[in-house]
Point group: C2
Chain length 406, copies 2
């Protein structure tokens, strides 16, 4: 039989250099109009400007009664100001008071709103006040939040509930947001889909649901997840299919002769990096095919997850103009036990957090695989040039569920 | 004209007591099977157990060559172990080596996998090793991550990417998750939908898109958002419609005679709390109608948002068995300026964070409304019994975008 190519990947690229390649990729400028009800978490592509003064008219800022402020001058408990209730519609008559709710337009002539709690009754159906009110109190002035045409939210902002509420108040029904990056996954054949019986020696596919979850978390759309034969020509062809902003090639990333991913990418475009100093995902790579960024992810699900988290995910987030940083809140904690890591490769070490300040290292991924990540509260990154951390060191923990506990 | 009811809400309930009422609500036990590709962020309702040993067979943990470990005993650079490449299929013959990728089943008879980097060539097409390998190295043993029938993920866990990948590896195509709480919003009439012209004195509806965003963020489903006439009978009727696990009544929450929300809830069921010591949302309330929790939210969008965030959102998260705490990462920061708050009510104060450790208070919500929340990086909660914080105090900031910056 023919000699098998067994050279390892000679020079592994440092993680920082790989991140640098990703950060130098051009960012797509695709954008689209979307309904305000569907843009939570998306990035505004163009400034959103108010269609009107906000609020559009002077209005009550509190639940209370609208009055002429000057009529309350001199009011005190010895000398209450007595006002006549007046019904809705027309302007507020002299000597009148009208019940308004927060947000109601101010009746014509009224220039203050007094909270209900500060209003008494004289027993014959009239309102009494025992303190003077300054003009303007209890009122939200027209245009005080924004004037017509002014910028409400700047391009680049990630839209959250308060933005969406404010934009709706200002008369917008839709906004222009950055298009979601379209991601294609090309998975090496050989795994079995869940729900089918597993032949002896077979392995269920984990990478399809895993990558779909990750890509959607990062704001991308999975346009295609297809199985590709483990051969160079088939993958080269698939790499050149149109319609994706990013392609993930999964499996066959090694450097053996039956590892087709890097050679196929070289034929379809260019391999920029193959072999990265990221433990368990050393065979990851990246490059371009038809100017579309392509990431080579190892087929082992745990390694696939690592290479996605550190590299491909950053590219998805950058393409969507989301914050490219790791999408986990981080916190400084104390290592409860020693964390040992071989020098030379960046290592992701899952940890459990028995208290908010304590990080308990879990078994290394080599032993526990995806199960360790699933059981973890978060992880620590040990850089290439570090042998780990002694017990008691302050380490940065990235938290999977970073919210306060109940 | 008839005397207008002007009593304020006599006794405001403290925020802690309102939270206590929410936390005593029974939690629904509705659950449903869902595809693994659609359960990210959802809560597992029942333990998910492995359908097989994981991994199902001994397999390569690294890209390398599978060997008989005993044949490498004594290998050194002076005395390399020379092995013959053997093709796929059958068991590994004595003296043979076979190229395997991480995740490939181990060939019969092989009991170690040597990384490609540690394999040489003798120039005539054979593999050479210069170090002995222990049996078991480079191998992931069958069942080492999980055994058939063992629990992979416990009920109550929030499913993230690593869980989903692991469950797929273990042969699961779907899992049983907690059903999303079905939320109905009953909005007082009187606002104009975006896209329509605004009549003089009119106000655009902000609460529909605002609440939809918040409810979906918290894992709920909006089953219904309907406008209800500002009258007691219409609202009472709507409160008793079936098909929701939680009802939000928006607007008309004050205590004036044209405020219909609390009286309608009293007729449909019971008002447990009306009037809460939460600044700007003092008229919020809660109760039950046909045993379904009902929240009364002020119609002003900023106040609506506050009452949702502090109260209704917690109930949505609890019903879905999500973490009920505020869904924002928090961080201790230094107040860059004095934060003043009137004693007697809990106040949410938006802040900007010019650096990761510094919280700059923004204008109070009374002045800037929803715009202040939209412009904020996060917020500080000033409790009822506090007059605020002097400059330089350490305060807990809840962050809208709590992820590390790029």
């Amino acid at each position: 039989m023919a000699e098998i190519q067994i050279d390892g990947i000679a020079d592994r690229v440092g993680v920082e250099d790989a991140l640098g390649w990703i950060d130098a990729l051009p960012v797509a400028d695709a954008e689209e109009d979307a309904l305000l009800t569907e843009v939570a978490g998306r990035i505004l592509a163009r400034d959103a400007n108010s269609k009107l003064d906000l609020p559009p008219v002077d209005r009550a800022a509190v639940d209370g009664i609208a009055v002429h402020a000057e009529e309350t001058i001199g009011a005190s408990s010895y000398n209450p100001c007595v006002l006549q209730w007046t019904a809705a519609a027309s302007d507020l008559a002299p000597g009148g008071a009208r019940r308004v709710n927060a947000g109601d337009p101010l009746p014509g002539g009224a220039d203050a709103v007094i909270r209900l709690e500060h209003v008494g009754s004289d027993g014959v159906g009239r309102a009494t006040l025992t303190e003077p009110m300054a003009a303007g109190s209890g009122i939200e002035r027209s245009g005080s939040q924004a004037t017509r045409g002014s910028r409400l939210v700047a391009a680049g902002h990630r839209l959250a509930a308060a933005d969406i509420g404010m934009l709706a108040s200002a008369g917008l029904a839709d906004v222009c947001v950055v298009a979601r990056p379209r991601v294609r996954c090309l998975l090496a054949e050989g795994t079995i889909q869940a729900g089918h019986p597993l032949p002896s020696g077979g392995v269920y596919d984990a990478n399809r649901p895993l990558l779909r979850t990750l890509i959607e978390r990062d704001g991308g759309i999975v346009v295609d997840q297809r199985t590709i034969a483990r051969e160079r020509a088939a993958l080269r062809h698939a790499l050149l299919l149109p319609g994706a902003d990013l392609v993930l090639v999964v499996g066959g990333t090694g450097s053996g002769s039956n590892d087709h991913a890097a050679p196929a990418l070289a034929e379809a475009g260019e391999v920029a990096i193959h072999g990265i100093a990221l433990r368990h995902a050393e065979t990851a790579g990246m490059g371009l095919a038809a100017r579309v960024p392509v990431f080579l992810l190892p087929g082992n699900p745990m390694a696939c997850l690592l290479a996605y988290e550190l590299f491909a995910g950053r590219a998805v987030r950058r393409l969507g103009r989301q914050n490219p940083a790791l999408p986990f809140p981080s916190r400084e904690m104390t290592a409860r036990r020693k964390i040992v890591s071989e020098i030379g490769m960046l290592e992701l070490r899952p940890v459990r957090c028995p208290s908010p300040d304590l990080a308990e290292p879990m078994p290394a991924l080599a032993e526990a695989g995806l199960k360790a990540l699933a059981d973890a509260d978060g992880f620590v990154l040990v850089p290439e040039n570090s042998e780990g951390y002694p017990q008691g060191t302050t380490v940065t923990v990235y938290l999977y569920n970073g919210y306060g506990r109940a």
